[in-house]
Symmetry: C2
Subunit: 317 residues, 2 copies
């Protein structure tokens, strides 16, 4: 697109009123100016979505806009941060007003709900790629981190891991066509419109001993947490939460999806046993699925007995 | 690339020691944590470079790494900010260690010199695209902006606009092969290794009335400044600075390059006449090239007499 086209596009779709007072200067200058409140640290994360890799080429533009923001806000949630400002770098094959309108609608539906201000960005021509940088704030020293889990801590996961993985199989394969409609819809919804767990992350400040979000699969992401904390874990498969979507498929396959499929963007966290009442009282369901051990490595149990699952890369930490 | 490959790549090339104390948590968690000093505003900008559009497909990886950072730091310079932290979202066709090594070398050569810390990023597979988000700080209320130019202010530009445009012609065309080697080298250097004018931007706090960086061409970018400030301008072509590169080509073509070619990343700013001594004393040469007028629109003069130049889009503001 020409420069003029670029500016017009940005104006038309992405310059929205309503930024809060922390935005001293929004879109339209060389850079934006924002005010970080005293006593807070700035939390910064960047994630890219590439067409054909992170979403199907034919995905709905609304969903792409939603998800590009959601996966970044999820990283802020995992830190216990309050999401405040985002930039959007959008590379597009052509200046397609219909795509941009729908993309912006999905993006701003989530941004508006979470009171996040778009403060800058860049629109370029090229293969469809979206990079969002999300900025949040957290009271000084209060951020949740991957390290901090201690032997004896409980391990929790929010929501129902595996649903988005089932949604991806539904998109890619035919074998699950016989699933009930409600199960299909739930799984696809979880794949295309992930929910960043921002309120949960904030509620876990001072409660969780370690936290991250499940983007690459629960087992792999738990591995990051264990390595960062220098501990091991026992996971009890029998205690994993099952949505109506995973309840509709073969239980052994449901186990594998729950452990290995990405895109759930649930929070995986640890907390001392003294926090059980607090966590049980949280508005979002968080299920205890195991406990931290002093040793290194991860053991899978069912009914307390060790099990082996054919999960690639599962023991590589 | 696989997830494991991705993590290895990031570790190998982009995890560097030496972040300053403001980085409370760097690469390796869900997000980074940084401390914005009291009394400062946060300055945020994002720019994307796409292969084949913002640099030739065959460009040196070192130069791509340098330029991806430089164009973002240039936006911070235009705000009078101190550059502090950056994130890097790198989309690559394949995990090419040689490319990554050279890219990182160029990126960190500039980052190290400007004491900017890489605090996060994302590596994905896809068509070569680089998005950098640069974060800086500026004392509260001190940021330079596009608005603020007043009638009677002088207009200045740093360095020699047009050199990078000549470099681009050298890359794309054959007709300038007869240029002296020193002129060629300078023009290509200015195209591939732009210098963000960070020290100049900071020195202009409290001095310049309005400022931006020249990324799309001096005339077009001046148009942004004029619109934002609600003023017009007279530019005196005879006063434009000429490097040895532009001095080696046809003067009329040099005028057009200086006015319309992008990629210079010089600062274009205005200041009241009372600031002339201060600006003349700056370490980086800044040349007065015209003055702000009360009317709207831009007039081109040579020796004080209006001239017409065949410059597309030149009068569209």
């Amino acid at each position: 697109m020409t420069q003029k086209g670029e500016f017009e596009l940005i104006d038309e779709f992405f310059r929205r009123p309503g930024a809060d007072a922390s935005v001293r200067l929004g879109i339209g200058d060389d850079a934006a100016l924002v005010a970080v409140p005293p006593g807070h640290e700035l939390v910064v994360t960047t994630d890219t979505l590439v067409a054909g890799r992170h979403f199907p080429e034919a995905a709905a533009a609304y969903d792409i806009g939603w998800k590009a923001l959601a996966v970044n806000l999820s990283d802020l949630a995992a830190m216990g941060a309050e999401a405040r400002w985002v930039t959007l770098a959008l590379t597009l094959p052509e200046s397609d007003a219909e795509f941009l309108g729908e993309f912006a609608r999905g993006f701003f539906a989530l941004a508006g709900r979470e009171q996040v201000s778009l403060i800058g960005g860049d629109t370029t021509r090229g293969p469809l790629t979206i990079t969002v940088t999300a900025l949040g704030i957290v009271p000084q020293g209060a951020a949740l981190r991957r390290r901090g889990a201690a032997a004896g801590d409980d391990i929790y996961v929010s929501g129902c891991p595996g649903d988005a993985g089932l949604g991806l199989r539904l998109e890619l394969e035919q074998w699950v066509d016989e699933l009930p409609a409600a199960a299909r819809e739930l799984a696809l919804q979880r794949l295309h419109r992930p929910e960043p767990r921002l309120a949960l992350g904030r509620a876990l400040r001072g409660v969780a001993s370690a936290c991250l979000d499940v983007s690459d699969g629960l087992a792999q992401d738990l591995g990051h947490l264990l390595r960062a904390s220098g501990v091991g874990a026992d996971l009890e498969l029998g205690s994993f939460p099952r949505s109506l979507a995973l309840a509709a498929i073969d239980p052994a396959f449901a186990d594998i999806l729950a452990l290995t499929s990405g895109d759930d963007y649930e929070l995986l966290f640890t907390a001392p046993v003294t926090a059980r009442d607090k966590i049980a009282g949280l508005p979002l369901r968080c299920t205890p699925i195991g406990s931290i051990t002093a040793g290194h490595g991860l053991r899978l149990l069912r009914g307390g007995a060790p099990v082996e699952l054919p999960v690639a890369g599962f023991t590589h930490f």
